[in-house]
Symmetry: C2
Subunit: 325 residues, 2 copies
Amino acid sequence: MPTNVLITGAAGFLGQRLARALLTGTPLLDAAGAPITLDECRLLDVTAGPDPGDRRARWITGDLADDGVLAGAIDADTRAVFHLAAVVSGGAEADFDLGMRVNLDGTRALLDACRRTGQRPTVVFASSVAVYGGDHLPTIVSDGTRLTPQSSYGTQKAIGELLVADYTRRGFIDGRALRLPTISVRPGRPNLALSSFASGIIREPLNGETAVCPVAPETVLWLLSPATVIDCFLHAHNLPGDRLGTDRSLILPGLAVSVAEMVAALARVAGPDVAARVHWERDPRVERVANTWPGHLDDARARALGFPVDTTFEDVIRQYIEDRG
Amino acid sequence: MPTNVLITGAAGFLGQRLARALLTGTPLLDAAGAPITLDECRLLDVTAGPDPGDRRARWITGDLADDGVLAGAIDADTRAVFHLAAVVSGGAEADFDLGMRVNLDGTRALLDACRRTGQRPTVVFASSVAVYGGDHLPTIVSDGTRLTPQSSYGTQKAIGELLVADYTRRGFIDGRALRLPTISVRPGRPNLALSSFASGIIREPLNGETAVCPVAPETVLWLLSPATVIDCFLHAHNLPGDRLGTDRSLILPGLAVSVAEMVAALARVAGPDVAARVHWERDPRVERVANTWPGHLDDARARALGFPVDTTFEDVIRQYIEDRG
């Protein structure tokens, strides 16, 4: 029986890294803890990304919310689905219908395709700390805090979590929803995510460019590095379901760092001249949403479940410089 | 400009009572607190219910998830929508796709129809305490408790709440989601709701019939009478939106009563012979879900917002006997 796994949003930065990890890293484990031999790694996105250079990799292009596309991507031999595809926060806020179609209809179509296989595949769903927000947030947000998103993106992720939980409860899938911190440092160019600046204020200065920080220096972000989030995806897949019980969503471990501290770490790693390339210009559109994101989260459950963690933000910057080559 | 309001699930027991209240009771209030003159009361359901005997009442029959049906039910003159239609808990558990179509797709189609009017109508959404459940519930569930439904019905209601909140935040509607306690005493016959027994153990004995209580005597239910829930719907509509802020969901005030106490109240009101018609036969299918419903809830927010409350369960039984005539 040829075994396949699927990554959605595979052309994205995290999708590409995850594909590399699946194709070249330690094998995934099945429910009994035995290594899974991977015959095919299906990479789904709207447009194909670079060829990972492995005969087991296969690009599938199309719209996630299109049943025909998913019918070709998920079958009875699909052991695991890593669902990363999403219209990001700024995009879902700017185009409500697009966000609903991809983030809600797409997620539901994916879960239904898994259900139709009758094989209860493992689904690792990339949720977000944007599920939290609003006036009544406690000082420390935990896995026990109710979800009160203040953006359409956060709303759609919260709905995705509810669906993952119910599809799991009914035995259609074996789901795990990870509330991703802001990922920093992302390579490449700024994107439509309102949190894009959390990478830009490190990446652009290291490239010799100026960067604008649109929020106040004391704004605290909950950060996770690209390398560690990929390890978290793999760890989430390999965790036995009974260790999660009925509660299939969890906050990934992160670092609570103010943007002022981020820039100070940049100065320590790359020098004050580099850090001086960050300009401070508050943007109400970004601030209004960013200030609803919790900065301090209680990640005790994920740590107890053995999820990997970053050490310091300085180490995260050094790792970014090393990865960049 | 002729003004209309819409009730979905209007052929149901609560829908009929609500229509009567809207047609014959105190007028609804607009955002400025002025009475709304009602020109048409649209009654939507899969099949028409009895004629309310008022020329302003008009039945619209069809499937909620059908855009064509909603296009004829919601227009720029629709001032308020009371969204009561739902596949009940047992039904949504037995037929997953039906529950998703009516409870999720139907709710979303309704919200989109409201949005298309561009008039930001008031939407009162009947949610349920079934949004709560699972292993980690606190002893007292409050509006601050996270939603961890353990049924597909509860999941679909929780998703509806998230949509109502986001559509409100974006200015598409002015939404209010009410987490309904178990309604008791309902007239008529048992239905597919897993909580159907909460009326049956009072109603059937009063009709001279035996009734089976499928849960343990000490099981505590969170109850609300039919008359009071209708008053709650009207109060929810009339509340100024700024009193709710960004948090558009709330637990309706209820009575925490064990089924043993319910039957004891029946004995006090109608005599021990009537109460003796309740037989105790635990049904694991019902108990498994009923035991996930919280019995003790903190309704402080709804009380502070002036929502009406029941006095005692004995009074509720007396009121049922009086209504029944």
